[in-house]
């Protein structure tokens, strides 16, 4: 027993020592990100490395960690040494600001566009030729249409879908809450299979060929088409959808300690540069840079985007009203 303990403690020093040794100029930074952003950042990182080398003469290695963004936020609070976060949920960055001061309180003002270098929206993926003639949210509540999207209880992606549908119904019915509930209730009853996450829903729709419409982020819709056949699937963008921001922030508590504030900030700023915005747009995310926007205009059909804050007050409020135990989601579900 004692030997085991000694060995374990010895090993602890052995393995942590190199990781915590920090020189003046950091050799690497860690970007903690959401689960489906791997290829995007794999494309951006080498460009930033070249840019940084050019600017400062220093070599920088960018490590990537990808998992569900709530899990990632918890990991950072438990000691995962992230210099920056690039998430797909505003609340997951906010929690880092609220608890333990990992992120500055004013993080959303520190960078342009609410610290969101790109954005997307829930859109539809339908089968070749759009056999059910899906055009907008109203088609999704028809009796002959079967839907696939993950469970809003477990998936951030599906929460966007749910809230987008709700916001659409509110608009159509002059803000009538009861009618909106009825609408999302019908929508939920049309779901053929509730997977726990976006990847599972994709498998159900594409590989198991369940349902007529898969609802997920527009960028993901295009990724699926690219992987499974541009001709076999079509994208449908509804008239109204919900703005899905992809917030980024400096984890100052870690970066200050590691002396990586400069390079981390530069990395975040770089995400707004034309070079990076072009890469981001090529991965089917919508961007703010006007030149890039014009260049990729035909990839991104017009859509009116609603902010969660404008319809539901805030993400926090929307979560409490709709997704908490006994919330609207539970009520309309059991109402069926």
């Amino acid at each position: 027993m004692r030997k085991t303990l000694l060995a374990a403690v010895g090993a602890a020093f052995l393995f942590t020592a190199p990781a915590s040794a920090s020189d003046n100029a950091p050799k690497e930074i860690l970007n903690v990100s959401y689960d489906i952003a791997r290829e995007l950042y794999a494309a951006i990182n080498p460009k930033f490395q070249a840019y940084w080398k050019d600017k400062t003469g220093q070599d920088i290695d960018i490590k990537q960690s990808h998992a569900g963004s709530s899990k990632q936020a918890r990991a950072i609070m438990q000691g995962l040494k992230a210099d920056i976060v690039t998430f797909n949920q505003v609340l997951d960055v906010q929690v880092l600001a609220d608890r333990g001061g990992f992120v500055s309180k004013s993080w959303q003002q520190d960078l342009p566009n609410n610290a969101s270098p790109y954005f997307s929206l829930p859109a539809f993926l339908v089968r070749e030729g759009n056999p059910k003639g899906i055009k907008d949210w109203s088609d999704l509540v028809r009796d002959d249409v079967k839907l696939v999207f993950p469970n809003p209880k477990t998936s951030g992606n599906a929460r966007y879908t749910y809230l987008a549908a709700y916001a659409y119904a509110l608009e159509q019915n002059g803000g009538d809450d009861a009618k909106a509930r009825e609408f999302v209730g019908k929508l939920l009853s049309n779901v053929a299979v509730f997977d726990t996450g976006g990847r599972g829903a994709t498998t159900s729709f594409v590989e198991r060929e369940i349902g007529d419409v898969l609802i997920t982020f527009e960028a993901e819709v295009e990724n699926i088409r690219a992987k499974y056949g541009e001709d076999e699937y079509q994208r449908v963008v509804p008239s109204i959808s919900l703005l899905a921001e992809f917030p980024v922030a400096l984890v100052k508590k870690v970066a200050e300690k590691r002396g990586s504030v400069d390079v981390s900030k530069a990395y975040l700023d770089y995400l707004y540069s034309e070079e990076a915005q072009e890469i981001i747009a090529s991965f089917n995310n919508r961007v703010h840079n006007e030149t890039v926007k014009a260049k990729y205009a035909e990839n991104f059909p017009e859509v009116r985007l609603i902010r969660v804050e404008d319809v539901f007050g805030s993400w926090d409020k929307a979560n409490k009203t709709h997704f908490a135990e006994g919330g609207v989601l539970d009520q309309v579900f059991t109402g069926n």
Binding site: A11, F13, F15, T16, L30, Q64, H66, M77, Q78, G79
Partner: protein, 288 residues
């Protein structure tokens, strides 16, 4: 079971009916067993290889040799290399203590060492995070010294130890209980040192059980997903073990890469199985 040709043919209709019934039962059981084994066990394994090689050997080897997957293989092997010796030492020590000594808390110890078998790995991972994470009881103290235990190799080793530590002790304790300590006492009275006694008397008795336990523990370390997933931090090319890498590649729509990585895990599993069967065949009674 089959009647030799020299015996006279059976003519009693009742006996014949009984025999036919027996043959039917036999056939049904064999078919069910084979079908089950084929559908549930063999087919999925074959499917892994079929899918991995679907796009040809070139694509397969390109997938295996990407730096991230190579690193995942290395990290998995490294974890096993660290965990295994610790497991052996711990297993022998704890078995020896439980079998040969009577002390307060012995019963409790016996129960505690079995605990990892009944706790879900993901819960185990969360427990470690709760204690050794930066906000945990021990973790926050260590954090003050700039020592980080989670989200690196150390965290992975720690949870791997947790999920595998019962294996060796579980094999050793019954064996040691049966064989007693007469031989050790004899060796000691004849003037052997403690180490000599262990080396020449105890070790030969327990070596097969020890090896058997080690192989089981090793298989578990290499395949562990849940506990490792919680404490790994998912840093690509740094803290991804093979099972995590398989999931990551699959989520990236890189099914071929995922299945290629899975073949490595499968090969390790098959080697383990062969080693295990060999030991079982040669020493059927030595690991109760």
């Amino acid at each position: 079971m089959t009647a030799p040709s020299s015996t006279p043919p059976i003519t009693n209709p009742q006996v014949l009916a009984l025999l036919r019934q027996k043959a039917r039962k036999r056939a049904v059981l064999i078919v069910v067993a084979l079908l089950f084994a084929a559908l549930v066990m063999a087919l999925p394994v074959i499917a892994i290889f079929a899918r991995a090689f679907q796009e040809g050997f070139e694509v397969y080897s390109a997938n295996i040799t990407t730096p991230d997957t190579l690193h995942a293989i290395w990290l998995t092997v490294l974890t096993a290399l660290i965990v295994l010796p610790i497991n052996l030492i711990y297993g022998i020590a704890v078995s020896w203590a439980i079998v040969h000594y009577r002390f307060p808390g012995r019963r409790a110890l016996q129960i505690i060492i079995e605990l990892p078998f009944s706790i879900s790995p993901i819960v185990a991972g969360l427990c470690y995070l709760l204690i050794y994470g930066a906000t945990g009881v021990v973790g926050s103290w260590l954090d003050g010294w700039d020592i980080q235990l989670m989200f690196n190799l150390f965290g992975i080793v720690l949870v791997s130890l947790f999920v595998t530590c019962p294996f060796v002790a579980r094999e050793l304790i019954p064996l040691m209980e049966i064989s007693g300590q007469d031989q050790e006492e004899a060796a000691l009275t004849l003037g052997a040192t403690g180490w000599q006694t262990f080396r020449h008397v105890t070790l030969p008795k327990i070596k097969w059980a020890l090896l058997y336990g080690a192989i089981l523990a090793n298989a578990r370390v290499i395949g562990e997903f849940g506990a490792v997933s919680v404490v790994s931090g998912n840093i690509r090319g740094e803290t991804m073990t093979l099972p995590l890498q398989v999931q990551l590649l699959y989520n990236d729509y890189n099914a071929t890469g995922a299945f290629a990585a899975a073949t490595v895990l499968t090969v390790i599993a098959v080697i383990t199985l062969v080693l295990r069967s060999t030991i079982e065949a040669r020493h059927p009674h030595e690991h109760a």
